[in-house]
Symmetry: C2
Subunit: 231 residues, 2 copies
């Protein structure tokens, strides 16, 4: 095999860490592998990048095949390319994470998604390939991102309570003693990013919480400017 040929005995894939938030807990969508290598193991959804496909497009495709969702928050994180990371050859992978609203996620259209399942990020055990390392990188990136920009809202349903929002931040950031309720509310509300609805929670065995939406225009302004959101 010539040297030039050997350069081309390689391929690249994308892997997508799909985050969701449910039951007060940060979740990640994993699939159970149906074929070797790592048959039966849980893994991140991913695929080889098609020859005529941009990287971001490939990541969005993997996401859509699995969840049916488009136009979702998606960010490239890091490329993993250890020589021996894939047992069948030289395959480097470009890792992405996405943030989806579990409330929008209905069924799993893709054939390879038969065994897709949400896992609590804090309870993920050994994954196929170097996927634990990839998950760690993406989680670390999400932690930083969530402090710099209000992307946390991408994970919440359209209407939410301040306590739900606080739990989201706590489950992502994992601060040792939780976040202070009064300081959290003061800070969030001072940003003028939330719109208080006239509705409240109903059917709860305690004082019902007010529901909020976020202000789409303000939100996009913040995302564009990438301002500091130090919680």
């Amino acid at each position: 095999m010539s040297e030039v040929e050997s350069f081309f005995k390689s391929a690249f894939s994308v892997d997508n860490v799909i985050f969701g938030f449910d039951e007060g807990d940060l979740k990640v969508l994993l699939i159970q592998r149906g074929a070797a290598p790592y048959k039966g193991k849980w893994a991140l959804p991913g695929d080889l990048v098609y020859p005529n496909e941009d990287l971001d497009t490939a990541a969005a495709r993997v996401l859509e095949q699995l969840t049916g969702l488009r136009n979702v928050y998606l960010e490239q994180v890091k490329t993993f390319g250890a020589v021996d990371r894939h047992p069948l050859g030289r395959v480097i992978t470009i890792a992405y994470y996405s943030l989806i609203k579990i409330s929008d996620y209905a069924v799993t259209p893709a054939s390879f998604a038969q065994s897709a399942k949400w896992h609590s990020v804090s309870k993920v055990s050994e994954l196929a390939f170097d996927h634990n390392e990839i998950l760690d990188s993406c989680l670390k990136r999400l932690k930083r991102k969530v402090r710099m920009s209000p992307v946390g809202f991408e994970l919440l349903p359209p209407k939410f309570t301040l306590t739900e929002l606080q739990h989201l931040y706590e489950s992502v950031l994992n601060p040792v003693n939780g976040l202070d309720k009064r300081n959290f509310r003061k800070k969030i509300l001072s940003m003028n990013l939330l719109v208080e609805l006239t509705e409240s929670q109903a059917g709860v065995a305690h004082r019902p919480a007010k529901l909020y939406q976020f202000d789409q225009d303000k939100y996009e302004e913040f995302v564009a400017e990438g301002f500091s959101f130090d919680i």
Copy 2:
């Protein structure tokens, strides 16, 4: 050509944005291309990744071939993979940046480095491929990094004055009105990261500045913990 074959008609490279600091100005090391495509254009140094080479190793190799330097600060930034980014085929590239001390940089050992030259980052014009975009991403990343961690020191000679350090921060961050001298010094010195030497500048037509080194142990502690260095 079968589909599987077509997946393997692709390759990946690394490109390295090598930053230096000299004459109060942030610089980037570019090479002039000697062959098509983009013959004669300035470009980032880079190379295809060898089949048995990790990505970080490839980036370090490119750096060493060009500058003779090892053990240099090197960070992966982003992977660029637009379908048409390379005129000769599907080549994605993993972008890195490195920080070197221009005082350590002597000659250019590699053959392809005949035409390597430092360019002021603020004056870089049109580069080959998508290299302007890559440079922008790396510069943006450096701006953020320099606020989170004291990596700026990687760019300075072993002994430096506080004014040189301030100019470095100014040339990276480009704040509209410069940085306040007193506040900058107060902040830097309060970190206990610097060791004041007994030496001073000599031969300058004004009051000579004290020279400082940084405290290696404290520095490594900070780099490891990635603390906040808000200038």
